[in-house]
């Protein structure tokens, strides 16, 4: 849980490794650059380790624990030399914090390394708020937004207040509550392609709730869920535009929204 609130003052210029996540790397680099900008603004020395690939969640959730363990070891080796590891995704961080020790349960030494690294691995908004005590300054965006709490961040990491606190500092931006904000959007990683019809029914209801909120923007902290919801909204012909929260916080929401011509 992201409850380092006992820390009285933020660490001074910590060495932070940014894990951009495979989805942001391939699909929406702007989220990675937004995270980079925010972490630097918060006073971190940020590095992007070149050896980073995938956290192994697809393998783990598919039952391929052996491959998940291989990818976990790769991740640990890549990232354990830094003060902190930060990713713009609750899902990938949930994997490293909550599930690496499970995936490596047969190997106590590695499981212990996973546990120690997990303690220093954070979802972006919770790192900015809980560890760095950061608040964005001089960010302006006129409009209304609604917020979807992605499940892993919410339930495995306790990410809920942090993105709202940060977005509350963006001048001109108002929150319109989302009915069922903590209800899964139906993405579920490989679930959405293994059971597309069920996934569609779930995201269909989510899209309706988003439209009922009356917000102009849909924001969230996980690109997978955002692509799912934005893709459904777009198919429905909705005018709601979707961005990752980091893009808005970094003042980088002037580009195309998710699923818009870029």
């Amino acid at each position: 849980m992201s409850n380092d609130r006992s820390v009285s003052s933020p660490p001074s210029s910590p060495r932070v490794a940014l894990f951009v996540t495979c989805l942001v790397d391939a699909m929406r680099p702007s989220v990675g650059f937004a995270a980079l900008k925010l972490l630097r603004a918060a006073g971190c020395r940020v590095e992007v380790p070149d050896a980073q690939t995938c956290c192994g969640q697809p393998a783990f959730n598919s039952g391929d624990t052996a491959d998940a363990a291989r990818l976990a070891r790769h991740f640990i080796e890549t990232f354990e030399g830094y003060d902190y590891v930060v990713a713009p995704s609750g899902s990938c961080v949930g994997m490293t914090r909550a599930h690496y020790p499970e995936a490596l349960a047969d190997d106590p030494a590695w499981a212990e390394r996973a546990r120690r690294l997990g303690e220093r691995t954070y979802e972006l908004t919770s790192f900015l708020v809980d560890v760095m005590r950061f608040a964005p300054a001089d960010v302006k965006l006129d409009g209304s937004f609604t917020y979807h709490d992605s499940c892993s961040g919410l339930r495995e990491l306790g990410v809920h207040d942090q993105p709202r606190a940060l977005l509350g500092k963006v001048s001109g931006l108002t929150l319109k509550p989302l009915e069922g904000n903590d209800v899964c959007c139906g993405f579920g990683g490989t679930f959405c392609v293994k059971y597309p019809a069920i996934s569609n029914a779930v995201v269909g209801e989510k899209a309706e709730a988003i439209e009922r909120s009356g917000a102009q923007l849909l924001l969230g902290g996980d690109l997978g869920c955002l692509m799912n919801m934005a893709g459904k909204l777009k198919r429905k012909g909705s005018a709601v535009r979707a961005y990752h929260a980091a893009e808005v916080l970094a003042g980088m929401a002037d580009g195309p929204a998710i699923g818009e011509e870029g």
Binding site: P58, G63, R70, F191, V193, I198, S199, V202, K232, K234
Partner: protein
């Protein structure tokens, strides 16, 4: 039942195409969700109560042999007869035999999911015994000739219109007015004389009280007591995990069970049954039989599913499950639907037959969050996925795809190349910000747009910008 022969996906698609079913599911689970939320807001002690309930169940499971023997001893001392059944077949055979020994022509039944699990309705019908389901929902299920679709609201899949039609066709003095009140009254009239004329009553148990040998049933309709009091014989079937040390422990469990199930503070009728009719009693059965059922529970103990034995069958996990709320319970194909059913059904039916159940889950964790005994349902579901992978039950295409992904993900340079290529391929199919008509993306794009990737990956752009520092 045609449903059973279809694949999970085919059943799911059929359910998704049924607009009446979706209305029925939303009416019941939506109400249940709201009532639970209200109950929680009025019970700030819930988290502590839930932790205690979990510890009570864990304590019982860790000392299960001790409590089973204590219960058996006390039940026998109270005048009950105790039977043990290792399998579903053994259990239903014992019940049918006891019914036959009692010369039963008519038996009344109180809804019990264990009864469904051991195939009791079918076994009684096969034996030519007139079986009367007394729970209103089970009565509807019996009239409809189908199966329960929810563990608390077994006829959740029926709309009021469908129920009305069935009652008009089958009741001796059906309702005249098209209200739910009038329909409930119709069932009340229909079942009244059946309660009083049955030879044997069969119920389940929500709790088995070790220190008294009593069994406990909870209902809101009062059908349990109306069922179990008049006949000469009362038979209880219960899973061996239903034990609690004492009535006090049952009360602590009850507080989280009822709030999680219906949002009430306590069920309308909570009854402890201890032995047969005692000297001087005005009513009650002369024989009281208890059948203790294993049916896979000790296997769960052995195979790393001990936490599932905490389950108290409240139904909260399914009421809050996005998949269940789209599909209803029949699609799951077993006695127990929803997240808890997806964990249990492979135990009863084998993983090969029910491989889809643990996979058809987004792992969003809501079920665990609302579970009154904090069962780590996503972890248990993932345990089945792990096993399915190890046993080679996963489809070749999934194994191949993930294998390729892992191969590249362990080799960062190749991974960069592959990512760059994938982006370029996707860009070839991109129009207006979305990917269209690309082979392999059909499962996604059949229902929603696939947002197109940017021209280059983050890592490519980052290297240029930062000079790879």
């Amino acid at each position: 039942m045609e449903q059973a022969t279809l694949s999970f996906k085919a059943r799911a698609e059929r359910a998704l195409a049924d607009p009446t079913l979706k209305i029925a599911i939303d009416r019941t689970t939506g109400t249940a969700e709201r009532k639970r939320a209200l109950a929680m807001s009025q019970f700030p002690q819930f988290e502590a109560a839930r932790d205690r309930a979990r510890r009570i169940k864990d304590h019982v499971i860790a000392n299960l042999e001790h409590y089973l023997l204590e219960f058996e001893r006390n039940a026998i001392a109270s005048g009950a007869k105790v039977y043990w059944a290792a399998t579903a077949e053994e259990a239903s055979q014992i019940v049918v035999r006891l019914c036959k020994e009692a010369g039963a022509k008519r038996v009344t039944r109180v809804k019990s999911m264990l009864g469904e699990e051991i195939g009791l309705p079918h076994a009684l019908d096969e034996a030519g015994i007139d079986r009367v389901e007394t729970d209103l929902a089970e009565h509807i299920v019996q009239l409809g000739g189908d199966r329960p679709s929810h563990i608390v609201w077994p006829s959740m899949h029926r709309t009021r219109e469908q129920v009305s039609e069935m009652f008009k066709r089958r009741h001796r003095a059906p309702h005249q007015e098209e209200t739910i009140e009038a329909m409930v009254d119709s069932a009340r009239r229909e079942l009244r004389d059946k309660f009083l004329s049955a030879d044997v009553a069969i119920s389940g148990a929500n709790f088995l009280i070790a220190d008294s040998g009593a069994t406990c049933t909870v209902t809101n309709e009062g059908n349990a007591e109306l069922t179990t009091t008049p006949p000469r014989v009362h038979i209880v079937t219960a899973g061996i995990e239903k034990l609690v040390p004492s009535m006090g422990h049952a009360i602590a469990m009850l507080r989280v069970l009822v709030r999680s199930a219906t949002g009430a503070d306590v069920t309308q009728y909570t009854t402890f049954h201890c032995g047969p009719k005692q000297a001087g009693d005005r009513d009650g059965p002369e024989e009281f039989h208890i059948v203790l059922v294993d049916n896979g529970r000790t296997r769960m103990l052995r195979e790393g599913m001990r936490e599932m034995l905490r389950c108290i069958r409240c139904g909260a996990c399914m009421n809050h499950c996005v998949v269940f709320r789209q599909l209803g319970g029949h699609v799951y194909g077993g006695t127990y639907p929803g997240p808890m059913g997806a964990v249990l059904t492979p135990v009863f039916d084998g993983l090969e037959k029910s491989r889809d159940l643990p996979h058809a889950c987004t792992m969003n964790g809501k079920c665990q969050e609302v579970c009154p005994v904090a069962i780590p349902l996503p972890t248990l579901l993932r345990g089945w996925r792990d096993r399915s992978w190890r046993e080679g039950l996963e489809p070749g295409v999934v194994r191949f795809g993930l294998g390729v992904h892992t191969f590249f993900a362990l080799r960062p340079r190749l991974y960069r190349l592959a990512t760059a290529m994938a982006i370029r391929v996707m860009r070839l199919f991109s129009r207006g910000g979305v990917v269209r008509g690309m082979p392999g993306l059909g499962a996604w794009t059949a229902h929603r747009e696939f947002p197109a990737p940017a021209r280059r990956s983050f890592m490519e752009m980052y290297k240029d910008q930062e000079g790879g520092r």
